[in-house]
Assembly symmetry: C2
Homo-oligomer: 372 residues x 2
């Protein structure tokens, strides 16, 4: 099997998360640290209990700051190259939980500049439009309108650029090349962009006029950005951002498949009609056996089964129920069709509710958006 590739623009191959922790130089999310977090939050989100979020940078430091009365804020983002799919929403769900538990601010960056720079097809208007489409999904996730600041980089460019300049001045092309694999053919917008993605880590300190701890919940492919950011933070008089790293939700075609806007069947999009989503799930990759007879005899593999994984990572909150589904699927007592049906019920219900909230969000955009 080919070695996995994990960069902000490409995740492919069989991702070994323990190996990534070593390669990226992050720390695994220990039970001790989760217990410490739980002192603040009372309960633990299932994505943390199940290590869907499995790695971190400086979460312990962040909690110490919090315990000393330095309220942290949250920062995450989205690259608006198309419609939102459920994989994008996975970290948002944990982010909302963190916002609720710590009653804290969230800064949400929509990188409609980078998605333009990095696309052969998308215009600035395209990525800007998708930024606003995606913002509806962000709002529908349920973030606190009083404490959530969503911005498109195109619309907030003055604020972003002026902070990014400070980051950029301390970041050589050589460093950016080493971290992101840039080469001589990379365009000069892309090589500058890490400074723009770093900017929101320092924005709260600028806005509040005091050093403010920042926690970034995001999929682990974004970690290279935080390396650059952490490299320069001290010298600029800011705290290094802390990070919580999530796994990737697999595409509907199986463990190493990608979700892509250009392949509608690869993912469940938030704008999919619920019955369309059901059909996609029923056609998705299964960890069951070739025939029903064989499945009943030998059982399936929940670790590669799309529906089992979707239930585990995102759609079934109840640990006992997930454990039972996995046990029965492994035993052959639940068929592929059974678990697909369970997931489809969950996803249909989720989409119906989400799409209602998404519609309402259109009226509330102004409460969330910040612009220059």
């Amino acid at each position: 099997m080919a070695d996995a590739v994990v960069t902000p623009w490409d995740v492919s191959g069989d991702v070994d998360y323990d190996k990534l922790i070593k390669e990226f130089g992050t720390k695994s999310l220990s039970d001790e640290l989760l217990a410490r977090l739980q002192k603040h939050t009372k309960d633990l989100h299932f994505m943390l209990r199940r290590k869907v979020f499995f790695s971190h940078r400086d979460l312990d430091w962040l909690l110490s700051k919090q315990e000393k009365g330095e309220q942290f804020v949250l920062y995450t983002g989205r690259g608006p190259s198309g419609h939102t799919h459920v994989g994008h929403m996975l970290p948002w769900i944990l982010t909302k939980w963190l916002q609720d538990k710590f009653d804290t601010e969230l800064y949400f960056q929509l990188t409609d500049d980078e998605k333009f720079l990095n696309s052969d097809k998308l215009s600035m208007e395209d990525t800007h439009n998708f930024a606003y489409e995606n913002a509806l999904d962000i709002i529908a996730t349920g973030f606190n309108p009083k404490k959530t600041f969503i911005f498109s980089n195109q619309d907030y460019a003055k604020t972003m650029y002026n902070i990014a300049l400070k980051v950029a001045k301390l970041t050589t092309f050589s460093t950016a090349k080493g971290v992101f694999g840039f080469n001589n053919s990379t365009n000069i917008g892309m090589t500058f962009f890490p400074a723009i993605q770093a900017a929101p880590c320092f924005l709260p300190t600028e806005l509040k006029g005091k050093k403010t701890p920042v926690l970034i919940p995001a999929a682990i492919d974004q970690d290279p950005y935080w390396r650059i950011t952490r490299d320069v933070a001290d010298r600029l008089g800011y705290y290094k951002p802390a990070a919580l790293h999530g796994r990737f939700l697999p595409g509907l075609q199986g463990p190493n498949s990608k979700m892509s806007a250009s392949k509608p069947d690869s993912a469940i999009f938030t704008v999919d009609a619920p019955e369309v989503a059901r059909k996609k799930i029923m056609k998705s990759f299964s960890g069951g056996r070739q025939t029903l007879k064989e499945h009943k005899e030998k059982g399936g593999d929940p670790d590669v089964d799309t529906s089992c994984q979707y239930l585990f990572q995102m759609f079934e909150e109840d640990d006992d129920k997930v454990t039972e589904v996995f046990r029965q699927f492994r035993a052959g007592d639940l068929t592929s069709g059974d678990v697909k049906g369970m997931l489809a019920d969950k996803v249909e219900a989720f989409l119906k509710q989400h799409q209602k909230k998404r519609e309402q969000a259109k009226k509330n955009l102004d409460k969330f958006l910040v612009k220059d």
Copy 2:
């Protein structure tokens, strides 16, 4: 003698302007083209008659557009790393003449982002403050307040960044490296910056909603930026900017000396007291002989004499007078002290008037500044 170096950050050695035309791939400003320009302007500015502006890109094309009714606009800039000296003002004087003759708009970029990125000492606040100090000198030059738009890149970053993204997407690191000599140690702000300096070439088209010709009068060291800009213009649906290239006013220490804010005696700054400026001139490099006797016998060299050159390039409008000064200095009839005194009179008068206008400019900043 060492080969001359001419880049936007370094001009040193003995500059051979004919050689630069070949190296940069520009065209010399021919008498025919000047005659064509004169059909529009009636007279010709002495900086054009004397080939202080000696090279161009597409000035002929620009005049054709103008003749077909497509009004061009002017764009120039200033890197605010310190106070303005008279060398900075040289191209502004021609730019004002062009604005008056063609009754056209002028876009004036203050690159307080780049001067921060490229300095070991200056903070963003420093370069921003200098941008506003320099703006006073720009206004004092006499530009039309109704048709002149001065902006600091820090303050106009949203507008600049959103146009720069389009330029950056089409410009590889390799191209920027080839044009500017960037290397792996260059910071990622500097490698992006050519896109920001290109942006005002396309801004008038964006603001007016129709393709608008742009003419850039500036010293020839800025030409590399227009190469990058012209490379991408067609593909983005803009006209290529035309350029008029000026020579450098030498430093007060002689033909290859530099003017620098860190060496007060190297240049006449617009904030210098007139009597201080006089003293600097009296101490400046002379093309005269070692003794008065030798000078009277053999004569001096006006081509290297600072005062002769300052009179020729900037401070004596009357061709006959300049010719006569050069002739007499060469013949030994005018001493170094004589021509220094002539220049000092001119410069004192210039500074007195300029400083009055500069003081008035403080009240008129709002009429000229644009911001996001």
